[in-house]
């Protein structure tokens, strides 16, 4: 179960079966993490284990090239990320009933792109600090390009490894490979931001969570203006790091949303 072949790639997947909750059917939620230095483990203790304890079925996976998933040289555009996710849902048998997608940072961008491309697969979106519109592509490219230059030919990973700082060595080595030996930066540069028309097409309920000081708040506000069913929650005192910096409040918001997703819709009740 840990390794799933989908879209010709071996994905690292971790599923947390819902804890026993007699008489209550939970939601199924698939989590998408952020870029380059992130992987599925950032969700594990923060949201995934608590959600599973609340009776929800949780799927965590490492995005293409990240964590313990295979790292091919190409395919880091959002269209391929959507193909990866839909193939994975199929491989897991989760393409018969729509699921809630929970995306952090760039994972939220992929989640929203998936809801537009395959509305039949997505019951709801929870977007945590997702870059949606505005100059985020340029800003992110600046950051990633500087990091790539710093890492290119650097002996830092080897030096860290020899000092026994294995975790830091792994993290920088992964970042170096993604930034300097895959098409990730070019693929993000070729991406496009969402438009008001995109947001207006969303058919599922959307919850957007932002940090008060984040530069991504205007994008979330634009989403809330145009999407038919969007709630925005701004967490005070935080920037982009809502997941680690505001874990407790974020967890309450996300668990409330999943509980609402799990309740049967009034029009779905049959006699």
């Amino acid at each position: 179960m840990a390794e799933i072949l989908a879209n010709s790639l071996r994905f690292h997947v971790h599923r947390l079966p819902a804890a026993d909750a007699p008489g209550e059917a939970g939601a199924t939620a698939v989590f998408l993490h952020g870029l380059v230095v992130d992987n599925l483990s950032s969700f594990y203790a923060t949201l995934a284990v608590p959600a599973a304890r609340d009776g929800h079925d949780i799927v965590l996976y490492d995005l293409r090239g990240h964590g313990r998933t295979e790292r091919p040289p190409t395919g880091y555009d959002t269209a391929t990320a959507v193909q990866d996710l839909t193939a994975l849902l199929g491989a897991l048998g989760l393409d018969t009933r729509p699921v809630t997608l929970v995306g952090n940072s760039y994972g939220g961008t992929i989640a929203l792109r998936t809801a537009l491309a395959r509305p039949d697969l997505v019951a709801g979106l929870i977007l945590i600090e997702a870059p949606l519109s505005g100059p985020w592509i340029e800003n992110m490219l600046d950051t990633l390009s500087v990091a790539a230059l710093d890492l290119e030919g650097s002996k830092v990973p080897k030096e860290l490894a020899s000092l026994g700082a294995r975790k830091a060595a792994r993290l920088t080595a992964t970042a170096d490979e993604l930034l300097n030996r895959t098409s990730l930066i070019d693929d993000i540069a070729a991406g496009r931001v969402f438009t008001a028309e995109d947001f207006a097409q969303l058919r599922c309920p959307v919850l957007a969570v932002c940090g008060e000081h984040s530069e991504l708040v205007p994008g979330a506000e634009e989403l809330a203006r145009h999407a038919p069913d969007c709630t925005i929650r701004v967490l005070p005192g935080l920037g982009h790091d809502v997941l680690q910096g505001g874990t407790d409040e974020l967890r309450r918001v996300v668990l409330d949303r999943l509980a609402a997703a799990a309740r049967p819709q009034p029009d779905a009740v049959t006699v």
Binding site: A19, N39, S42, G67, G164, R166
Partner: protein
Amino acid sequence: MTTDPTAMRILAEITAMLVQTVGDEFLLAEEVTFDTTFNEDLALESIEFVALAELLRQRYGAAADLISFLAEKDMEEILALTVGDLVAHISGTPVSAPAA
């Protein structure tokens, strides 16, 4: 050191899972005891703990009940656990303390 055969068996199984998860160039099986901590001693990455959790689920199934064991802990607290803490949870009984 405990001599409880169940705890010893689970320790050996978890050790094998750790070597499988981390790779034997980083972790030698003889380094792992009940007192070994995931973070301080093994420098286990969070993602490696999740991979270990997958192997535990495959081996021990729902009986391992990691969700209630870990539900109140953040990742730092999880990685501060010892292998013995995990063995004790899975065996359902505390690993006996070293003889005085």
